[in-house]
């Protein structure tokens, strides 16, 4: 990832099509995954990433040379790209994968690296810290590893100094906030409180359909997406069993002993 000339920033925003956050998840009958014939939308953390890229441009104006949205997924994932374009991305890349294919984080990271080689250079990659479907939370870190570049994960604030070629990122950690400065090119993963994404306005939705969208296949990029993991079984969490009220501490201790939680006579 070679940086573009100083004072110009190209941003890549990878987005994923997920089961909508409001949908009640159900395990499928074969226990191989969840029911997918439900409403889908952009992974909420990726929406935050798109919003942050658009806000960077609103702040830095012409210093942001371009915002590219990229998705890896079946043909329907194109809707997710249109949403990113309607929010303010300039162009989009769709790496189309077979309908039922599972693309693991490492394969995603490799595909993203290949897209960056082909379409880049990019100076900044902003993506969600995790996708709400598999909750792996690995893609950003793996991509930084593959590229050998800086990473700042779980960002709750992002400032870019284009001239200096650095980004200041505030991260939410246990017990406080951590501020780090990374050299561009860098990978930033978005946490929940980074911003509140806008709703795509109607004029922007209409404009989005005229923005360029390039389609690629994993083969075009020379990446093998064969899964390395085998899904054994997916089950729902056990149903919560109702609790019981006790009258006093003695009764509680007696019950705990009986249940074998505390040592003592059963």
């Amino acid at each position: 990832m070679r940086p573009t000339p100083r004072s110009l920033l190209r941003i890549l925003v990878p987005v994923k099509r997920c089961v909508d956050y409001a949908v009640k998840i159900r395990v499928n009958a074969q226990q191989t995954g969840v029911e997918t014939n439900v409403k889908h939308s952009m992974n909420p953390f990726d929406e935050i990433a798109v919003e942050e890229a658009v806000r960077l441009r609103e702040r830095l104006k012409d210093a942001v040379k371009g915002i590219t949205a990229v998705t890896i997924g079946p043909s329907k994932a194109q809707e997710t790209l249109r949403t990113a374009l309607a929010m303010g991305a300039d162009d989009a890349v769709h790496v189309e994968t077979p309908e039922a294919a599972i693309v693991e984080p490492l394969a995603v990271a490799k595909l993203l690296r290949a897209v960056m080689d082909k379409k880049g250079p990019y100076d900044l990659v902003i993506l969600g810290k995790q996708a709400i479907d598999d909750d792996a939370g690995q893609t950003g870190q793996m991509l930084a590893g593959l590229l050998g570049c800086a990473q700042a994960t779980f960002a709750s604030k992002l400032d870019v100094d284009v001239g200096a070629g650095t980004a200041d990122v505030t991260r939410e950690i246990d017990g406080g906030l951590e501020q780090v400065r990374v050299k561009l090119p860098a990978i930033v993963t978005a946490d929940l409180r980074l911003n509140e994404p806008r709703y795509a306005s109607l004029p922007n939705i209409m404009k989005a359909k005229k923005k360029p969208l390039e389609k690629l296949k994993p083969e075009d990029l020379g990446v093998d997406i064969t899964p390395r993991l085998q899904m054994l079984k997916v089950t729902e969490p056990p149903k919560r069993v109702g609790g019981q009220k006790v009258d006093n501490v003695d009764e509680l201790i007696a019950k705990l002993k009986k249940a074998g939680v505390l040592p003592g006579a059963a």
């Binding site: 809707e79 249109r82 949403t83 306005s201 109607l202 004029p203 939705i205 209409m206 404009k207």
Partner: protein, 402 residues
Amino acid sequence: MYRTISTTAVRREPTLNSLSTFTDEEEMLRESVRRFAHDVVGPKVREMDENESMDPAVIKGLFEQGLMGIETSPELGGSGSSFTSAIIAIEELAKVDPSVSVMCDVHNTLVNTIFRTRGTKEQQEKYLPRLSEGTLGCFCLSEPVSGSDAFALQTRAVKQGNKWVISGSKMWITNSYEADIFLVFANVDFSKGYKGITCFIVEKDMGIKIAKKEQKLGIRASSTCTIAFDEVEVPEENIMGGEAAIGQGYKIAIEILNEGRIGIAGQMVGLAQGAFDKAVPYTYERKQFGKAIGEFQGMQFQMAEVATEIEAARLLTYNAARRRKEEGREFLKEAAMAKYYASQVAQKAAGAAIEWCGGVGFTRETGIEKFWRDSKIGAIYEGTSNIQLQTIAKLLQKEYKQ
């Protein structure tokens, strides 16, 4: 009725999709409006209803989202989208608040459309950008003595030099409290009867006075006022469509109301669905006699029936919208049917929703009863149910009478 049908003409095979198939843009618009309605409008619905006033932040939000110039071209500050998109936006807003929905509806399907289809180039360039970007418009036809009999209107316009002087009053004017641009129908020559009716573009600061803001049963956040015109002077270039359109007001009004009905149908469909969506989940939570009330057959069948009727009303509405714009076909009967039926379904669905939730539905806190109050207007404005039936009946007579 026995006609021979000849279909020798070669026609391009149309793409046959279901009525609930939408373009990507329409789907994105629906999603975007849904979220706006839920996040921005939702928390204010009760307060706006109780205060009988529209929150300015909601109006501002509608403009910012590009929902106040849906069909206006981007060159004039609009969104450059379709009539069906307008119907979708109106429907989605009504699911959360029918008051906000009607504000968007009147502004788009009546005011903007008249400018787009009837205005001169100068009028379009002067007013459409303002109407897209932040100025609310309203449509002033009804008067104390002329409602369904709209062309009996008494407001007069008299030419004095290069101005027209308008005197009279208008009643039941939606959006008028917040509006700055008024489309006013006045008669310039009573000797010609309805052919004297002319449409004027009047700005509030030309001297329009709000005489009374009505207190209503439903859609209380949407303003409805009586407006007085006390010798309001309007420049002659403000005749909608220019000099040549003097006496064309009746045509403008009839045509716009024919398609405006589809918007109200959309509002009523959204209202019905909003009430249904609020009430039905509760029936699976509330337990009586050891099981969820929604699992009793008496409840199940009521809900199934209402769901079917909402679906039917929705399809009538989408069909009328697609015929009108996307296909440019005759839509008069379909629009009247959609508006008539959707307003009936809205009232039934909202009424049933209250009953399904029992006492909880009857309280103002849950907002279910509001849908029922809001539904009543559907049978009244933009052509009462009787006027819709009359329109349908006239067309039937034309079709069937030998």
